[in-house]
């Protein structure tokens, strides 16, 4: 079985801007794949290469084993949910959803029935006669989704589909999208710069930076074992410890990542068990964040952020506290 999408050393340059730079990647059938990265890192360009809106400057793209270069978007069994939805304003919601079927020449009655069915699937029963302008942002997002899904694509591309929604709606849509993907078994490729979204929805994430994939793998893997400072910083927040400090506190002589939630508070007079290492220092700041309190402890060579469950103790700025962590939570990284 060939992968759903396969990139082999793909580059897309715009003049001297290397939007996508020597990317190799396989996305497998039925996978929920997320592309995560900061603004301008080439995620959208990657998606557009799959959809066929862009052609690679060099390299090779295959979709289900077939060469994709030179194939126009309308000959690819791939559909896109655009970031701003791109619903046609001169058509009703029903006509928008039925558009792909109309183009394929499906008879009116059949395509209308299919459109209604798909609208029901995205919980928009009874909206088919409305115009896109008469919908809320979340409803438009669902119409865009229905318009793509009605064509039963083999791969669905989603470019920050939830970017315009408020937090509550976004979380709801994340759950629904995930459920939908499981139910339909379609390969989803999601572009986002929201790491929480990528981690919670995807089976696998690729972290982009400056047109390159810097790390790819299951969310837990990427989160637990960031391979570079960039990934450690970008995916969640992390303490990046300098090599000397890491070597002296249970790690190896390398730049090392330590997640704030892996750092615990040491009670006064407590002896550290074997395999644990600790420091003590002055609390520079304590930020109450609901379930956790995030404290920053100033040391002379570095500073350590710790996420402490709220309610354990009340920590004041200026206090001196002792922190500790398991040596196994120190993750040595390749690049600085």
């Amino acid at each position: 079985m060939p992968p759903a999408v396969s990139f082999q050393h793909v580059s897309r340059h715009f003049g001297h801007v290397k939007a996508v730079d020597d990317v190799s990647l396989d996305i497998f059938e039925g996978e929920f794949f997320a592309m995560l990265g900061p603004s301008g890192s080439g995620k959208t360009t990657c998606l557009r290469l799959i959809a066929g809106f862009e052609q690679p400057t060099s390299g090779h793209i295959e979709i289900f084993g077939e060469t994709a270069e030179g194939l126009p978007p309308y000959r690819r069994n791939v559909n896109t949910v655009f970031q701003d939805y791109a619903l046609f304003p001169h058509m009703t919601v029903g006509e928008n959803v039925a558009y792909g079927l109309m183009i394929k020449g499906v008879a009116r009655a059949e395509r209308e029935a299919k459109a209604l069915e798909t609208l029901a699937m995205v919980k928009l029963k009874g909206f088919d006669q409305r115009r896109p302008s008469q919908l809320s942002g979340g409803q438009r997002q669902r119409v865009a989704l229905a318009r793509a899904l009605v064509n039963q694509p083999k791969v669905l591309l989603l470019d920050e589909p939830l970017g315009a929604l408020d937090l509550k709606l976004r979380e709801q849509m994340q759950e629904e999208l995930k459920a939908l993907q499981k139910e339909l078994g379609i390969t989803f490729v999601l572009v986002t710069h929201d790491q929480g979204e990528a981690l919670s929805m995807a089976n696998r994430v690729a972290i982009f930076n400056e047109g390159k994939i810097v790390q790819a793998g299951p969310p837990a893997d990427v989160y637990e074992h960031p391979r570079s400072r960039f990934v450690a910083d970008f995916v969640g927040s992390s303490n990046v410890l300098p090599p000397e400090f890491a070597a002296a506190h249970g790690g190896t002589h390398a730049w090392t990542s330590l997640r704030p939630e892996k750092v615990r508070l040491v009670r006064a007079g407590e002896a550290l068990p074997a395999g644990q290492f600790g420091v003590s220092g002055r609390v520079a700041s304590a930020l109450y964040q609901g379930a956790i309190t995030r404290i920053a402890v100033e040391l002379n060579s570095t500073r350590i952020i710790a996420a402490i469950p709220t309610g354990m103790t009340t920590i004041q700025e200026g206090e001196t506290v002792a922190l500790a962590w398991d040596a196994c939570n120190l993750v040595a990284m390749e690049a600085a």
């Binding site: 959809a51 066929g52 809106f53 126009p72 978007p73 309308y74 791939v78 559909n79 896109t80 655009f82 701003d84 791109a86 046609f88 304003p89 001169h90 558009y99 792909g100 109309m102 183009i103 394929k104 318009r147 793509a148 064509n151």
Partner: protein, 309 residues
């Protein structure tokens, strides 16, 4: 500073208008409303009123009594021919303008960038800067028997084509400048910018995203053009056609200078209110384009031309 009351009279005025924004809108709208209300609608009303009077054939005086007899005169064969001739010419000019304008507008909206775009605006607008009369007379010279068109046609051995064209019944004539073809060419030339600009503006507003979305959903460029671009550009084309159609319906200069001197609505109105002194019939004639435009817009609406608005 919150709560401070401005003492400077000008800022006091701004504050006042800010709090009473309805009043500001009213003050801004009053002059144009007066203009439209009194000058424009008033004169239109006066015109309508005149058309319900009649001309006493013996004394040549206007009878100020309500009658439909003036409108009846519109339906004499001569006058019907004039109306039909004008309407057909206006329709032909509009159609030709739309066909010529669309590719130009499409190119300008979708492909032209930077300098090319500036050049486009210049090329479209420049003809509007020079006098209308000068342009029409220039065309008369261009189209004349001794003019450049005949000369070029002869040079490239296409004189026979021109002759064949002029030999055609009805639209032909002794030369381009004395035929319907000539009138048509000049009309199209003069009104073309009014078709290009709104069409281009409408096309400009079609986001690239829609075209990509359409392709993404399986539509070939041809299908995308028919189902997305054209419907979204239609309000612009209709706006342009309102210009070209109504301007042609009402024009009285071009048919006098270029063409076979057969009367159009405009030239007829000009003659009726001048030498003939038949103001009521002239007024009735000017109502015709208004009615035709009304019918035209109704049909356009029925056909969904404004769905994208």
């Amino acid at each position: 500073m919150s709560g401070a009351i401005a003492t400077n009279p000008r800022s006091r005025l701004s504050d006042f208008f800010y709090r009473h924004s309805g009043l500001l809108t009213f003050a801004l709208l009053l002059p144009p409303l007066l203009w439209i209300g009194i000058v424009y609608l008033g004169s239109l009303f006066a015109l309508l009123l005149q058309s319900f009077y009649s001309l006493d054939e013996f004394s040549g005086l206007i009878v100020h009594e309500f009658t439909l007899s003036t409108y009846e005169q519109l339906f004499t064969p001569t006058n019907l021919t004039i109306i039909l001739r004008t309407a057909v010419m206006a329709a032909a000019v509009t159609l030709a303008s739309a066909i010529l304008a669309f590719p130009i507008a499409y190119y300008a909206a979708r492909y032209a960038r930077g300098g090319w775009k500036a050049l486009f605006y210049l090329a479209v607008m420049m003809p509007l800067w020079s006098s209308y009369l000068v342009k029409v007379y220039a065309w008369k010279l261009i189209l004349a028997k001794e003019g450049i068109v005949t000369w070029v046609a002869g040079k490239i051995h296409l004189g026979w084509l021109l002759d064949a064209l002029l030999a055609m019944p009805v639209i032909g004539g002794s030369s381009l400048s004395f035929s319907y073809i000539g009138t048509f060419i000049v009309f199209v030339y003069i009104w073309l910018p009014y078709m290009i600009l709104p069409t281009q503006a409408a096309l400009e507003r079609v986001p690239k995203n829609f075209i990509e979305a359409s392709a993404d959903l399986g539509a070939s460029p041809r299908q995308t053009f028919r189902t997305v671009i054209l419907p979204l550009a239609m309000p612009g084309v209709i706006a342009g056609s309102i210009f070209t159609f109504s301007l042609t319906l009402g024009d009285y200069i071009i048919p006098q200078i270029v063409g076979n001197s057969r009367p159009f609505i405009g030239t007829t109105v000009y003659a009726l209110q001048g030498t003939a002194g038949d103001i009521p019939l002239a007024a009735a004639f000017t109502v015709v384009p208004v009615v035709i435009m009304g019918i035209y817009l109704m049909i356009a609406r029925r056909m969904g031309a404004f769905d994208a608005l």
